[in-house]
């Protein structure tokens, strides 16, 4: 697993510009708005469902154990209008993902951006 915090200006800029908000339905208060982490893993499932979409990704932790992360994104409606589809995150795809992690350290967070092995990016990835 590769995780590290991208603090300061980069994180702040990402927060301001990150695609569709995940707070359309609820407060989003469980996520750390001051921090962005990066992790690499394999897509298990893209739940293209209301009220919010969720990307399930399997990531190996520092001890080699596989951990399932839940990454929340915008509504399928708003994302669909921006060209995102259920096939955007196909099961089995290797991906590096940036997210705002949960405050309590649980394996979940708010989506910021993702980069696939072929260099294709989704969301904010500057």
């Amino acid at each position: 697993m590769r995780t590290h915090a991208l603090l300061g200006a980069l994180a702040f800029a990402a927060l301001l510009a990150a695609g569709a908000p995940v707070t359309a339905h609820h407060s989003g208060a469980g996520f750390n708005s001051d921090k962005v982490i990066e992790l690499t893993g394999t897509i298990k499932e893209f739940q293209f469902t209301n009220p919010h979409t969720w990307i399930q990704i399997i990531v190996e932790d520092d001890k080699g154990a596989k951990v399932e992360w839940s990454v929340e994104w915008g509504s399928p409606n708003s994302l669909g209008r921006q060209g995102i589809r259920p096939s955007t995150f196909p099961p089995g795809a290797k991906v590096t993902m940036r997210l705002r992690p949960m405050i309590n350290g649980a394996p979940a967070g708010g989506f910021v951006g993702a980069k696939f092995e072929d260099g294709r990016t989704v969301g904010r990835w500057e």
């Binding site: 609820h26 989003g28 739940q47 469902t49 009220p51 929340e72 409606n77 949960m102 979940a108």
Partner: protein
């Protein structure tokens, strides 16, 4: 074909004649504008700004979670204290959004404070304001009817109005407000009472902008009328509006014990219960 329809028409006519006179009077349209004289508000529209109710005073980013970006409504002391208690709970993630558990309407006036597309459907006898988020429907009767004197309170209330040129003017009454603690105006915990009512003016200010100006009165909670203006900008031609099945996969319910917004993990258990 005619032989099939005629008996039905006869039955319908007889049924109408049996209705009480008062019910018939309510159904009679009056002062209905012809369709081709009504303004064109077609298309999909998006609210400008974050879901902070009084956008006119918003000065920064962050919407409902940033301090100091909105003005207080003119609350009296009792309701100012209620609002401050909500803000304190909000800061601890213990003030639940009433729509987080799916199933109740956003209510009025929050109807005009939602993300995602809006549609303003103009018909001679009614105008419908549809929101994808929710979904919610606000029906505004423009057929000359009056509010019922004994109308019971609901989330969205009862709205009747008329046209002044190309401006729709309507009043909304019979609102639950925060009586049952299931209607808020935004996630700061802004609330109104069951005595709230509003006069709203909607007009198109330019081809890409619809303006909604609400004058909200609430003798129980406010010291004077509160005027709020919301703007809606036209989305690209051809924009589609979809289902919003809130209960389809709601992984952010509010904890019924604490009010905390939960994050549900892949095993169906909350990741932040404590």
């Amino acid at each position: 074909m005619h032989t099939t329809v005629r008996p039905l028409v006869f039955v319908f006519t007889v049924s109408l004649s049996l209705l009480p006179a008062a019910a018939l009077a309510q159904a009679q349209p009056s002062a209905v504008r012809a369709y081709d004289t009504l303004p064109d508000w077609s298309g999909a529209w998006s609210m400008v700004g974050g879901t902070v109710f009084d956008r006119a005073t918003q000065t920064g980013q962050g919407g409902a979670t940033a301090a100091g970006v909105r003005s207080h409504p003119p609350y009296n002391a009792e309701w100012e204290a209620i609002y401050k208690s909500h803000l304190e709970r909000r800061d601890k993630n213990l003030f639940p959004d009433t729509i987080s558990n799916c199933g109740v309407p956003a209510g009025f006036p929050r109807h005009f404070n939602l993300p995602d597309p809006y549609e303003f459907v103009v018909r001679p006898e009614q105008v419908w304001v549809l929101t994808e988020n929710g979904p919610n429907v606000l029906r505004i009767y423009t057929d000359g009817r009056k509010h019922l004197e004994d109308q019971w309170a609901t989330y969205t209330g009862d709205s009747v109005g008329h046209w002044e040129g190309d401006t729709l003017v309507f009043t909304t009454v019979a609102l639950k407000g925060y009586r049952d603690k299931d209607v808020i105006l935004d996630r700061t915990g802004l609330v109104l009472s069951d005595q709230s009512r509003a006069t709203t003016r909607i007009r198109k200010t330019d081809p890409k902008t619809i303006q909604v100006q609400m004058t909200i009165e609430d003798p129980k909670a406010l010291t004077k009328p509160w005027v709020v203006t919301k703007q809606f900008t036209k989305m690209p031609e051809g924009t589609r509006v979809y289902d919003y099945g809130c209960a389809e996969n709601n992984r952010n319910p509010a904890d019924i014990d604490t009010g905390k917004t939960l994050v549900i993990g892949p095993d169906g258990k909350p990741l932040n219960k404590e």
